[in-house]
């Protein structure tokens, strides 16, 4: 089919829109490796800003990774069984619980942070530890894990699978780990990637909760832009992107329906589903 003018106009528009979004990002990353931003590239390229940022903020970056992993562990341990129980007992109470679980997404991060400070502010040791940040992150990311797993569970007839496993002698734990979890794999992976990505980039909540000893990557980024040279902030952004882009690519492949591994898993699940019965029974 010959591609007409329309196609090229649409393509051009799409490219323009992409450029509008990407060019600032590229410029920012470029600034991170320029000797002097205000002189531009002519002043030369250098890695010294990146080295300086690393020297100043490496603990912050490691802390962010640790918190992200911690959030992942907590949401896996709490979220997957929660999603299972919610999927198993549909009803009014379940719906209410689901809705309240999703609240942290709807409420501004600042409000959630304030709530945490008011509730736990008196426990000084807790308040000034990374654990406090972790709690905030878990509150924020848990609904994503639960939703992702719930979505997959709703699309498969896990109840009959469980009955099949039970008829063969499998107890509740065996069924959960041997049948439910493997078949909810797609949702768990999607949820996991979402949790890690969101946690690394989380700013609103953390900005209110942090202390100088418990800074995370995005907070450090704001800090460096506010108090240091533009090149430093840009170098910091560069490091951030290098960390986050691989995660986003994985997310794209596993979490969205078109991504290939996800599509393959989905196909296995749907074609393993019962074929439509002949007559209603």
């Amino acid at each position: 089919m010959r591609r007409g003018l329309n196609f090229y106009l649409q393509l051009g528009f799409a490219l323009l829109a992409c450029a509008f979004l990407i060019v600032p990002v590229l410029m920012s990353m470029l600034a991170g490796v320029t000797v002097n931003y205000f002189q531009g590239i002519s002043s030369g390229l250098t890695l010294r800003w990146i080295v300086q940022v690393w020297a100043m903020y490496s603990t912050t970056i490691y802390r962010s990774l640790a918190i992200a992993l911690g959030a992942l562990v907590v949401t896996l341990v709490a979220g997957v069984p929660a999603a299972y129980v919610l999927a198993k007992r549909p009803g009014l109470t379940t719906r209410l619980i689901e809705e309240s679980l999703m609240l942290p997404i709807a409420i501004p991060g600042l409000a959630t942070a304030l709530a945490l400070i008011i509730t736990y502010g008196t426990f000084r040791d807790f308040r000034t530890s990374s654990l406090f940040i972790l709690v905030g992150h878990v509150l924020y990311t848990l609904p994503f894990m639960v939703r992702a797993v719930l979505a997959v569970l709703s699309s498969i007839d896990f109840r009959t699978l469980e009955e099949g496993a039970a008829s063969l002698g499998a107890g509740p734990w065996q069924r959960f780990f041997g049948i439910i979890v493997p078949n909810a794999r797609a949702g768990i992976i999607a949820g996991a990637l979402t949790v890690v990505t969101l946690s690394i980039g989380e700013f609103n909540l953390t900005w209110m909760l942090y202390t100088p000893e418990t800074m995370t990557l995005p907070v450090g980024l704001a800090d460096s832009y506010a108090s240091m040279r533009l090149e430093m902030g840009s170098a910091y952004t560069l490091i951030f992107f290098v960390m986050i882009i691989p995660l986003l690519i994985l997310l794209q492949r596993y979490a969205t329906p078109r991504g290939k591994p996800r599509a393959r898993m989905q196909e296995e699940l749907t074609h393993a589903r019962p074929l439509a019965p002949r007559q209603g029974a």
Partner: protein
């Protein structure tokens, strides 16, 4: 675990088992039933008659209402959940695990029972051979056809040598030809294993073919239990008569040793009466020459079914008589037909 044949056959006994669901539906009335060791009993009935609920009570997936008891031989298993009853179950949707291949699916029950790997592998091979699916051993579930899945489901259920095998409409999801073929295989398998089985279906020819006994159910209760022949030739009531095969019903007064109908007479040895209703099967109405035929009517419809032809004959009674014949010839609409009912094929249902 050397041969597929299992122990002599567990006897299943249900005493006063009823089931009311949380929303108040009375799915099963208090049911008392005994299934002999090695016997296959088919629960037959229309949708919603409670047959699946009854099966699930035997399985342990549903607990009967207080007072109901389930016994396997002399053991009271009422309080045991399904995972402790050592039953094998084949579901309508097969419930095969998508995260495992065929081999692992079949081995699952054995793994749960901690059967050592070598024994497990041997048993899996036996099962693959028994259900004739050796070539499918490494396949994923979504790559299998309906008939193949059914065999895997069967192999998986039998692999653990269950005391009792429970099948919930296992052939319903398959097309007609496959269903008929597999029906024979399943029947042979169940009998060669000598395993006590409870089989649920709404297809009455399937029930006849597979069951040693058939329990016909309607609205939560068993209305008749008997051999396929008993339920077919001696239905206990109108429901069974109508549900199993087709039944013709005619009504008329009895005079001079015959039932008088608008279209003729049917010899009847009983006493004279004002009105009597008799039933007979379409295949027991024979086409005879018009001259001297006891019943005479007119063909209003004909259906060629391949192995037989079904005719609707009017003017014998108020409703058309359905006749089934193996005659090869074609029948004309409006053609006069003479009929004679097979003596001894007439049934009454308590007047």
């Amino acid at each position: 675990m050397s041969s597929p044949a299992t122990h002599g056959g567990t006897r299943i006994r249900l005493v006063g088992c009823g089931k009311t669901f949380a929303d108040g539906t009375r799915a099963l009335d208090d049911t008392t039933l005994e299934i002999q060791g090695g016997e296959t009993v088919v629960f037959l009935g229309p949708s919603g008659c409670g047959k699946t609920t009854l099966l699930r009570v035997i399985a342990g997936l549903e607990t009967p209402d207080p007072g109901g008891r389930v016994f396997f031989d002399d053991e009271d298993v009422t309080a045991l959940p399904i995972e402790q009853r050592n039953v094998g179950m084949v579901f309508q949707s097969y419930a095969l695990f998508p995260n495992m291949d065929v081999e692992d699916n079949i081995a699952y029950g054995l793994k749960i029972r901690k059967v050592p790997a070598e024994q497990r592998a041997r048993r899996v091979n036996e099962m693959l051979e028994l259900t004739q699916i050796e070539e499918l051993r490494g396949r994923r579930i979504h790559e299998l056809s309906g008939g193949q899945r059914q065999r895997v489901a069967l192999a998986r259920a039998i692999a653990v040598q269950p005391r009792v095998l429970l099948l919930d409409e296992p052939l319903t999801a398959l097309d007609a030809l496959l269903r008929e073929r597999l029906r024979i295989e399943v029947d042979l398998l169940l009998h060669s294993l000598g395993i006590t089985s409870a089989y649920v279906t709404h297809d009455q020819s399937e029930a006849m073919a597979i069951g040693d006994r058939v329990a016909v159910m309607n609205r939560g209760r068993i209305v008749q239990v008997g051999t396929p022949r008993e339920t077919y030739f001696h239905p206990a009531n109108a429901f069974v008569a109508d549900f199993i095969g087709t039944m013709n019903r005619v009504r008329g007064p009895v005079r001079d040793g015959a039932i008088e109908l608008p279209g003729g007479r049917i010899p009847w040895p009983g006493a004279a009466a004002d009105s009597i209703e008799v039933l007979f099967r379409p295949s027991d109405a024979h086409i005879v020459p018009l001259e001297g035929a006891p019943l005479r009517g007119k063909t209003t419809a004909q259906f060629f079914l391949g192995d037989r032809t079904r005719l609707h004959v009017s003017e014998i009674d108020s409703e058309p008589i359905i006749v089934e014949t193996t005659e090869h010839r074609e029948f004309r609409i409006g053609e006069p037909i003479g009929l004679s009912i097979e003596p001894g094929a007439l049934l009454t249902l308590g007047g």
